[in-house]
């Protein structure tokens, strides 16, 4: 349980980090919070020749709220997302999901950029990024590019990030609907969820559903957004029938992986239950507000 040898680099700024990543190409691995990479190094599932420690790039630990988007620096820790008032106000769904990641000590170190780059199919932050239509700002040898989270995440732990590139920020578009919920189920507290549901919507002046966004984590190789179902729910009343229809439509659409430990039918029923729970908790929060 000790890492294989590597050369350790600690760049002081983004430019130095990028030139190190460029110089060492596929032999280099960026180290952010280290809460996923650390175990992989200790178990020698990862054996990079060069480790580029990003923790001195404090300019990437940032939250900026504008009229049209919230920009979150890649090195922003989960705990900050969970407790910072500017995040809780502008993106409460992101805050609530961040507060459920791993454990308290893990959340002090883990970063949003690291979570997206790692791309665990059951992780919270990739799910929220896809659900809210966020994009990633990526710096590299050819300058900066922006890519939608849904395009960035390609498969299990597989992302659109080339050698020498680094995620510098996530951009979440505003406005987002005022109603939201994050619901998940895991076997033990702090484990990755078997299924998670992220929900965001608004209600028009007649109380009908508007701008619904629904995302599911843990059911397929990447977080899933369901635009066809979202469109079908547009303008419907936020009542019991709609909630049941929505949950049934989600369960009928997803194609969960089948395994001995977690049968596909179980994940499908869990998704249906969690969609109902999420919708109800969004409405309950509205009543309580």
């Amino acid at each position: 349980m000790k890492p294989a040898p590597f050369l350790y680099h600690r760049p002081a700024n983004l430019a130095d980090a990028l030139s190190l990543l460029r110089a060492h190409g596929s032999a280099a691995k960026p180290l952010a919070g280290g809460q996923s990479l650390g175990p992989m190094l200790n178990m020698r599932l990862a054996r990079p020749g060069h480790l580029v420690d990003l923790n001195d790039l404090i300019e990437l630990d940032s939250v900026r709220v504008t009229d049209s988007f919230v920009e979150i620096g890649a090195l922003t820790r989960h705990h900050r997302l969970a407790i910072a008032s500017e995040v809780r106000r502008s993106l409460p769904l992101l805050s609530a999901a961040a507060a459920t990641i791993g454990h308290y000590a893990i959340r002090q170190r883990g970063t949003i950029g690291g979570s997206l780059a790692h791309a665990d199919p059951a992780a919270q932050l990739p799910l929220i990024a896809v659900t809210l239509g966020a994009s990633l700002v990526i710096a590299g040898p050819e300058g900066t590019r922006e890519v939608a989270a849904s395009d960035f995440l390609q498969s299990i732990m597989t992302v659109d990030l080339r050698d020498g590139e680094l995620i510098t920020a996530l951009r979440f578009p505003l406005p987002v609907g005022g109603l939201w919920a994050f619901e998940y189920f895991s076997r033990r507290h702090g484990d990755f969820a078997l299924v998670s549901v992220a929900l965001s919507f608004a209600r028009d002046e007649e109380g009908k559903i508007d701008a619904l966004r629904i995302g599911l984590g843990g059911v397929e190789t990447v977080p899933l957004r369901l635009p066809e179902i979202e469109a079908r729910m547009q303008g419907r009343p936020a009542d019991e029938t709609t909630i049941r229809d929505l949950a049934a439509a989600v369960a009928a659409t997803i194609a969960p992986e089948d395994s001995e430990q977690v049968p596909a039918v179980y994940r499908r029923e869990l998704a249906e239950t969690l969609v109902v729970r999420a919708f109800q908790s969004a409405l309950n929060r509205e009543e309580g507000a």
Binding site: P3, P11, G38, P39, N42, H79, A105
Partner: protein, 165 residues
């Protein structure tokens, strides 16, 4: 720090307010440097992949897994270990409450739990039992069944607020 060889790095580490100059390989975990190079064996090593919480220390005052941190990363940061919390004749409020509530048996997990809550109780001086359980979920204990640890944390929090319990 831009390394070009696998020779040990020369590091200056600040641990519990003392500065130590060390020669340490880049791949050496903070947990191993604390125990083997500095003799601070109060930091325990359980799973070595961030699950059990036994190695939890404070980095710049915030809890972190020493087994998921390289000592080389700690230059310029302050590390605090269980050795800096309380003394046998003057326990911290949390240590005293753990003693009174039988919040430990073998004690292997206790240092990590104390370090986690040393920070948490400063951030949230009025936790509910449910919040305590959420934070405690990051520290595995195979003796107590956790009930007494929750009771001890709530008791320590109350005392730290000046209540007599």
């Amino acid at each position: 720090m831009n390394a070009s060889t696998h020779e040990p790095l020369t590091l200056s580490l600040s641990v519990n307010g003392e500065t130590h100059d060390l020669q340490v390989p880049a791949r050496k975990l903070l947990s191993d440097v604390l125990r083997e190079d500095l003799g601070l064996t109060g930091t325990h090593v359980g799973c070595e992949h961030g699950v059990c919480g036994a190695c939890t220390v404070l980095i710049d005052g915030r809890p972190a897994r020493a087994c998921l941190t390289f000592a080389a990363q700690m230059e310029g940061h302050e590390v605090t270990t269980i050795e800096a919390v309380g003394r046998p004749d003057a326990l911290s409020a949390l240590q005293q409450a753990l003693h009174e509530e039988h919040g430990l048996q073998c004690g292997f997990c206790t240092a990590g739990i104390v370090m986690t809550f040393e920070h948490y109780l400063r951030e949230n001086p009025t936790p509910t039992a449910s919040e305590v359980r959420d934070v405690l979920s990051g520290n595995l204990c195979r003796c107590t069944g956790y009930q007494n640890i929750v009771a001890a944390v709530l008791k320590a929090a109350a005392r730290m607020r000046g209540e007599s319990v």
